[in-house]
Amino acid sequence: SPMQTSAVLGDRSNNQHQEVIEVQILPQDDGWGDNATALTGNTSVASGSMDDVSRLGGGDGGRGHLGWNFKCQRYLGSITAAVLAVLAVMTPVAMVLLPRMQIVPLRSEQLRCPAECEGLLITLTVKLVLLVLGSWAVFWRPTRATMPRIFFLRTLVLLLVFVTTFAYCLFYGVRVVEQQDQLDYKAIVTFALSLVDALLFVHYAAVLLLEIRQMPPRYYLHVIRSPDGISRGYPIGAISIQRAAVWLLDKYYTEFPIYNPFLERLPPRRSRSKLAHSSSFKFYDLDAQNNHGSLNPGNARGVLSTTSSSTTARRNNSSHNERFYEEHEYERRLKKRRARLVTSAEEAFTHIRRLQAEPGPAVPMDPYEAAQAIFPSMARPLQKYLRITRQQPRHTVESILQHLAICLSHDLSARAFVEKFLAASPVMQNDKEKCPIQTWSLVCDVLLSRGIEDGTVFQLRQGDVSLLCRISNLPHFNITEEIIEPKSNKFVLRLSSETSV
């Protein structure tokens, strides 16, 4: 049975603690990427979303998850990472400053700093600045996701930083305590410099492990969205399953078309009766008539059929037909309404002119008022179009007016304005999806912190929507060289009308 590592946080507090402790260790800088202080809109694998609540029809899932447990899990990892990074950066500075501040009692000859020592100090400063800059550039960013299992590589890097700093501190302490007399300042500075070098290399390793390792594509990820069957494929590098899920969700929100649950069943045609009776196969249900005990001609709708299986076969045939014709009709009506919408929008837009362009008696209006002025003339076709595509819940009048105001103030054409309603993708276009936290649950047979392999299957679920992902290897390409002689590029005219006998 698949291990369902869903986002319910409450009952995993023990694990959380353990996880949190492991995740505490963090890379070398104050700017570790998952530092939480500058967070903006995030996606998270384990938090509640308002949208979810409405879809689940009232579970308390959403509210409960946004409690302290979740906040803890979300921020604690980053904060400890940041703390460790700051400590690591401060250590060499402290090592160099402590003797100067007489906390470590050294004689003044020992504290002399000749030219090479000064050079070393400058190098130390420069390297520290580079380290901080590099970490800020690569790692200082809001957490994209809160993941259920430990982020193995990050933990490794943090461990490395911790061990390095700790070892150096230990040696420093031992040396300073035991051999105070034989120390000289240059040795201390060299020592601090070597720590900074080590940290720089750890930073390099961190960048490689966390950013670069997953970049070259090794696998092919195929995603299928469940209720409507939309699918996509992406190349993906070597990462763990949970990170693959986060990566995939990024792609999902920016590339998949909006899922409209109301479009599951096509809107019924008004005149269904024509089609229902147009099938030439009418059928009796013999069993029902047996139950009723008498052959009632009123119930009979046609030709006798011998077995019930053949009736179902014929019923299926006509339901295929129905589906086909329904879809055809629907497409036709959709196109008609779309044409009407576009024409009425274009007409409406011709009523508005910029102030400079239209001199004469005119009341200057700001974009919102202009929007309100021209909206009524296209309100009706717009409403009918939204109704046929079942999009009304997604667009309120207020949001439409705002959108229209923006289009007018930027001189967009009518078609650009209408694009928002015609093009139902990507998912992020849906204003209702733009909430700061989205919860998805991840289902997989394999431990989530393992890397993806050929044949890995995992599923992401949120309410009605589920994304099934399958991984397969990208093939190894064997490129062979084929040499074509330039001399063999000669041509002879061969008329097909001649035959050799």
């Binding site: 008329l495 009308s497 001649e498 035959t499 050799s500 006998v501």
Partner: protein, 121 residues
């Protein structure tokens, strides 16, 4: 002149050269035994004579190439000859493929051939 400007299907009266060609047996590139005549034909009522590089003037079957030391050369066939008849088959009113079939059918060809400058003045 009407020999070489013949409208396929109309009646024609002309002089012709009788040529008897005995095919030779050779092995083709796959090793099978075939009868080879050693010439190439072009034309036919399904072809467009206006596009022929040799500027033929009607839709008859013409000899476009005769290979050296071939049975065709030995039999006296020359380039740009028009084959009127082959083993009794009328080649003035047949398609290219049909003509090829007729020629390939028998090992000995009795042909009636028209040649410019020889069979008409």
């Amino acid at each position: 002149m009407s020999t070489f400007f013949h409208q396929a299907g109309t009646a024609m009266e002309c002089l012709s050269i009788p040529i008897t060609l005995h095919k030779e047996s050779v092995l083709d590139h796959e090793g099978r035994e075939v009868h080879r005549c050693g010439f190439k034909i072009g034309g036919g009522i399904d072809q467009d004579f206006r596009k022929s590089p040799q500027n033929y003037s009607d839709n008859g079957i013409y000899v476009t190439e005769v290979q050296e030391n071939s049975p065709a050369a030995k039999a006296g066939l020359r380039m740009n000859d028009k084959i009127l008849q082959c083993n009794g088959y009328d080649l003035t009113m047949c398609t290219h493929k049909k003509a090829v079939d007729y020629i390939k059918k028998y090992p000995v060809l009795n042909m009636l051939v028209a040649r410019k400058g020889v069979t008409h003045s």
